[in-house]
């Protein structure tokens, strides 16, 4: 391993800052500090192994340093940043350190970016496209007051637990746009079964470390998420072109109340 020599000001004098930084590197740590730092290096090795595995050509070509410079010794090295950029471009979306962290910090887990639909406050809600607002009202994620504004003239939403299987059957039978309507409600209620759609940025999701199996899992989940996203976009576009289908959707939703409740 090559060592970095402090900058020479003259034949006998080092620049003060460079000398101090060099001396700090040789400070004897406590055992706990050394172990913490080695765990960071452990992750660094793992990231490099993943870099080599997933992007062998780029890894072979890379001239970036594996060791972070002195001013960000606890952060990511240039080669790690390259890898994180490639993951974001080609495997699955992740937050980039420069957007969230100081130069001397690292993410404690894989910072994957969810793409769920979430309703935090009225400002957010009113910015969503109308079909998504309707989905939110159907699953009870928006207040009753919103309903009159979102879809004027639509039937009132009836209280009661829905029979989900019955609702899906009713949608299939109705055909057309409505066939895929359950997906809209699954997306809005964070229950698609896909990690990227079902993870809430407010509540948080599972924390994953950089393990090979996990990276493969996240990459596969993101491929599925992209397909889901395309289907969801098509659904929203179709409902926007044909708003009357939203009214029919509400009718089906009201018909899907569990029979026992209707009888009682």
């Amino acid at each position: 391993m090559a060592s970095e020599a402090p900058e020479l000001v003259s034949a006998h004098t080092f620049a003060f800052d460079a000398a101090r930084a060099q001396l700090q590197r040789w400070r004897v740590p406590t055992l706990g500090q050394a172990l913490d730092e080695l765990l960071v290096w452990c992750e660094r090795c793992t990231l490099m192994a993943l870099y080599r595995q997933y992007f062998p050509t780029e890894y072979a070509r890379s001239q970036a340093n594996v060791v972070p410079p002195m001013n960000r010794a606890g952060g990511y090295s240039d080669r790690e940043l390259e890898f994180l950029g490639l993951v974001n471009q080609r495997l699955f979306p992740i937050s980039q350190p420069e957007d969230y962290l100081g130069v001397d910090e690292r993410f404690p887990w894989i910072p994957f970016q969810e793409c769920s639909v979430e309703f935090y406050d009225e400002e957010d809600f009113s910015s969503w496209r109308r079909p998504i607002q309707v989905f939110a009202c159907l699953i009870g994620a928006a207040g009753d007051d919103w309903w009159k504004e979102v879809l004027p003239g639509a039937p009132l939403l009836q209280d009661g637990t829905r029979d989900w299987e019955l609702f899906k059957r009713l949608c299939r039978r109705a055909g057309g746009i409505l066939t895929d309507a359950p997906l809209g409600l699954e997306v809005a209620s964070l229950s698609t079964g896909n990690l990227f759609f079902d993870t809430s940025s407010e509540v948080g999701g599972d924390a994953f470390g950089w393990e090979p199996d996990v990276v493969a899992f996240l990459a596969a989940e993101w491929r599925k998420a992209r397909e889901l996203n395309a289907r969801f976009d098509r659904l929203i576009d179709a409902f926007e072109r044909e708003p009357s289908a939203l009214v029919r959707l509400v009718t089906l939703w009201n018909r899907a109340i569990e029979k026992k409740e209707k009888e009682s």
Partner: protein, 88 residues
């Protein structure tokens, strides 16, 4: 180690410490090596992971031993010295 008197005890402890082999925990040694490094080649990177794993394992064992020793010291019954300390 003799326990006859406080004086002999302290001599024995010092002798024991002087006779102990010089040792730097591998976790600290590797930490210093990595902290001093300005560049690591691809080949070195490949060999690094098993060295780190071994150093972490040895470091954690040493840390556990230190914690146990500290607990034992804290739990030790206090004992009056037979010698009056200087200054009294």
């Amino acid at each position: 180690m003799s326990t006859d008197s406080g004086g002999r005890d302290s001599d024995a402890v010092i002798e024991f410490l002087v006779a102990a082999p010089r040792y730097v925990n591998p976790a600290i040694a590797l930490y210093q090596e990595l902290t001093a490094a300005s560049e690591i080649s691809r080949e070195e990177m490949l060999l690094l992971q098993p060295r780190i794993d071994a150093a972490i394992q040895e470091g954690q064992q040493a840390l556990e031993l230190a914690v146990q020793s500290l607990k034992a010291l804290v739990a030790t019954e206090p004992m009056a010295s037979v010698e009056v300390p200087n200054g009294f």
